[in-house]
Amino acid sequence: MPPRRRKEAGSRRVTLDGLLASREIVVACGPGGVGKTTTAAAAAAMAAARLGGKVLVLTVDPARRLADALGLDGIGNAERRVPAKAFEDAGVKPRGELWAAMLDAKESWDDLVRLHAPDARTRDEILSNPLYRNIAGRFVQSHDYIAMERLFEIHSEGTYDLIVVDTPPTRNALDFLDAPERMAEFFSSRLLRWLIVPYRSKIVNVASKPFYQVADRILGTQFLEDIAQFFILFQSMYSGFVERARAVHRLMADRRTSFIVVSTLEAVPLREAEFFAQALMDRRLHLGAIVLNKVLPAYLRGPHGFTVAEGFRDRSEELADALAPTVRSGDAAQIRRVLAEIGQSYLDYRVVAQRESEQQSELATVPEALVSVPYFETDVFDMAGLLRLGEQLWGP
């Protein structure tokens, strides 16, 4: 067995400031519920405050969270500047500007169609196609594609010095990376052409005949025609899509882009985070940091606390009697209950803290930066909170 690496929670070797200063795109990924969106926003806020320049935080999660964390209600598809006042209220004079945008899949698809459509007629036909209208709004996986597309678009405009991207949870995050390629593959596939040909030429290909018979029975001719029509229209944008997908892929693998994996030390999220870190490395993408959120304080694991807590719990009566004469706010019975309760509570939390510590020491993939962020006693819901979290990411 290889020797285990021991790392104390709270220790850090490298911090995120270097990463944020040297990259143009930082993609925050990881499982859901670990504070990924907040971490991305905090990193961007700190970069804007300390490094200067124009910093954009782009959230692609279909659930609308970034707005909450930034104290803005409903950030639209367009990028919006976070008012400097938000920083000032938090007692910080930012060197740069913080911008925020949330992904509106429907609106982004429309933009994309406008960009790639060969002429106005095709554009209008696509935009009014019933299938398209349904896809743009509901089609779940399309978020992944559109996110990458949008990121590429914004990056190539060159408006921002740094773009911090929040991604959908891990299981989707792989899709998120593969999305452009999959979309290109999809539009270039033989099967797709196969599907479209008969509607174009009105002569049913012999090979596809059985398929159509079955498909007709299941879906109905009208629906099938709608689908084919949709693809015919979309094919006119094929080369644009493929070219774009390749460009997006290059951008992700570029030296200017880095990924940070966010997790907590709970077993399930951490397992997913490791899975993702590994996948990034397999793809030769740059894993810049692992950020561990909500880490319980180290004093919960110390040897002394354990003995003291046991003493409180097991000798509560004796201790309460001894303290009762000097304590004015309650009687011996109340003191006893309080001591027993806090002793037990320490022991309970200690179990969780130890479990987390073991999880961290078993972390197999360690990038150049491993950042532990302590459990904040209150939630992060405003700029002050984001900056407080950002300080932890930043380090001394």
């Binding site: 996986q141 999809f186 059985p210 009208q222 304080p297 919960l300 706010s329 309650g330 509570s345």
Partner: protein, 315 residues
Amino acid sequence: MTGLLDRRLLFVTGKGGVGKTTVAAAMALHAAERGRRTLLCEVDAKGDIAAYFETGPTNFTPRQVLPSLSLMSMDTEASLREYLRLNLRIPVIGRIGPLAKAFDFVATAAPGVREILTVGKFCWEVRERHYDLVVVDASATGHIVGQLSAPQAINDLVKVGLIRSQTDWLVDILSDPGTTGLVIVTTPEEMPVNETIELAHRVAAETTVELASVIVNRVLPELFGRSEEKVFNELCRSAPAAELGRLVHGDPAPVLDAARLAVTLRRTRAAHLERLRAGIDPAVPLLYLPFLFTRLHGLRTIRQVARSLGEELGS
């Protein structure tokens, strides 16, 4: 409102990381222990359910793991194959390979096809009465509305054909509150509570499925009430703390700090709980499950959660 576990089809959703799968598993276990023939299905085949029940990998064919409890995982291609076999009586199963692939493309392009193969399978199990209760560890909050509204979406898009004739009964099953319910799992934290409230509104507006319950997971215990908190605050002052340290031969600071952390965490969460209660239709019951200070996952944990759930349901 129909009792939660008296329904026949329960979709369990929640923001990532709130313990959705754990709660779905506990719910299924609890129902099975009460003698209901229960099927638990994982929609995104992560294999977590198999791990919780400490059993081998699950697949599309349900497998009984405990008396009255079977497990399966969703596989849309297998679902399509089953659908074709049942509905079209396609004789040559071997030829379905390329067909399924073709459908994969259609499904990718046509919204709702994949979703309907998922939701359709559960509705079918319910209609055929293979089980008394089907518990679905469903998609996370971001995707559940798309899944539950798929039959209606297809109904709007497809005018004729076999699929059309099938969506009607799916919509019937999903829309019957005595049969089908949605359960949102959350934790008493800022973002999960926000998302839960938002989702509850979307479910009401965009789907025909009734919100059966919101389950709040990982509720922290209350250490002491107001008057005892005064005692605690006094104990934290230097003289009593020093005296305590002398009596137990150690520094009491870690224990006192930990207690303060526990109190603050609990208090922050209590505010979110109030917000949740205020943001959800009062007719929807909220159930509370305690935070588990345990070391590991597995069947023991699921049993513990199932017991708490039973207490909350009063059964």
